[in-house]
Symmetry: C2
Subunit: 211 residues, 2 copies
């Protein structure tokens, strides 16, 4: 198959991080070789799908053997652009924002929160993990200057669109929003959402009443 000739389905891209996560886990367990079948069993995905997905980007395996774990990890990191560390801005330092700022699991997976913003005067200047909370009024200028491309929104729903606008103007190209509203952004900007209630509601559909 041809190297990433533009049209990789987004649904395929969305599975690569899952493969990467599983491979890193395999590596931690000391495994050096794996196969599409093993990976598939762990993830509940067919081996054919894994091979097909990977084939969009190149040939990474060896017939009769499988994949070298470390090689495939490196390839996926390169493809996903996480063979480097991205600086991430976080906007909205409430309970959730604070928890995320404290969370240590981002750095070794390609992302590092380097800037915090909020518009509560009581929070401005406060330090979390060595980062000073800046006022939202400084957001655009700061992000532009620092060349930041990725941001997380952890503000209440009402301010989310407004913040998104600022971020886009500042040159951000990827937004991860925890605010429970669909954001409207230019099509060159990627947005992903996290709303735990959506997941809960999707599951409660399958729970029949009992009590």
């Amino acid at each position: 198959m041809r190297r990433s000739d533009s049209e990789i389905p987004d649904i395929v891209v969305g599975r690569l991080p899952i493969y990467l996560r599983a491979l890193i886990r395999l590596q931690q367990e000391g495994r050096e070789i794996t196969s599409s079948q093993e990976l598939g069993e762990r993830l509940g995905i067919s081996s054919a799908q894994i091979r097909k997905d990977l084939s969009h980007f190149g040939e990474f395996g060896k017939q009769g053997t499988g994949y070298t774990v470390s090689t495939l990890i490196a390839e996926l990191q390169r493809i996903l652009h996480v063979d480097r560390e991205w600086e991430v801005a976080l906007v909205g330092v409430g309970d959730l924002g604070r928890a995320i700022a404290h969370y240590g699991g981002f750095a070794h997976r390609g992302f590092c929160i380097t800037h915090l913003f909020d518009n509560d005067p009581n929070k401005i200047g406060e330090k979390i993990n060595n980062l000073v909370i800046q006022p939202v009024s400084e957001l655009k200028e700061t992000i532009k200057k620092a060349g930041i491309r990725i941001a997380m929104i952890t503000t209440p729903a009402d301010s989310a669109q407004e913040i998104a606008n600022e971020l886009v103007e500042a040159g951000v190209g990827a937004i991860l929003s925890y605010a429970p509203v669909t954001l409207s952004v230019p099509k060159h900007v990627r947005v992903q959402y996290i709303d735990p209630v959506l997941h809960l509601q999707r599951m409660s559909y399958y729970l029949n009443d009992r009590d």
Copy 2:
């Protein structure tokens, strides 16, 4: 169309909460009537898809007019089983678990965190939002007795599978996991995952290097 004759595609079920969220927002804006077209524009989904999705469950609209917002909200809440309040157990009271326990946005959307578990002796007995943190050793018994069906896992990756096993034995049928590992559970149990890094990696794929 026939009433929920068992085989509704899960991908359709997954969109209903998104519709519900948008409708509630419309209602807050004072709107009483809407159409599949308007809803679709707000969500970036085709109007045909919205009508098709809804048609799996019944006929809720009126030709020439559209949908009564309050009616459609009530119907979706009924379909998703969030026309009631589910008790939810939260396991793992670290930074993230704490933030979630404090978060007030669950209750009015059908879910209420009523139990907290952790196995750090220093945390046992501590109170968050009037809830006492219980030891994991009491988990199975407590959840069984309370008849709890939904749980959230906010433990580190290493303990997640173990906790999931306990939850399943206790009768839980829906698990929302923040731990970055694929859990293995019996097929009658639903699992949903939240791993922000997966979303970030999926987006960084589309960011070309610049600096």
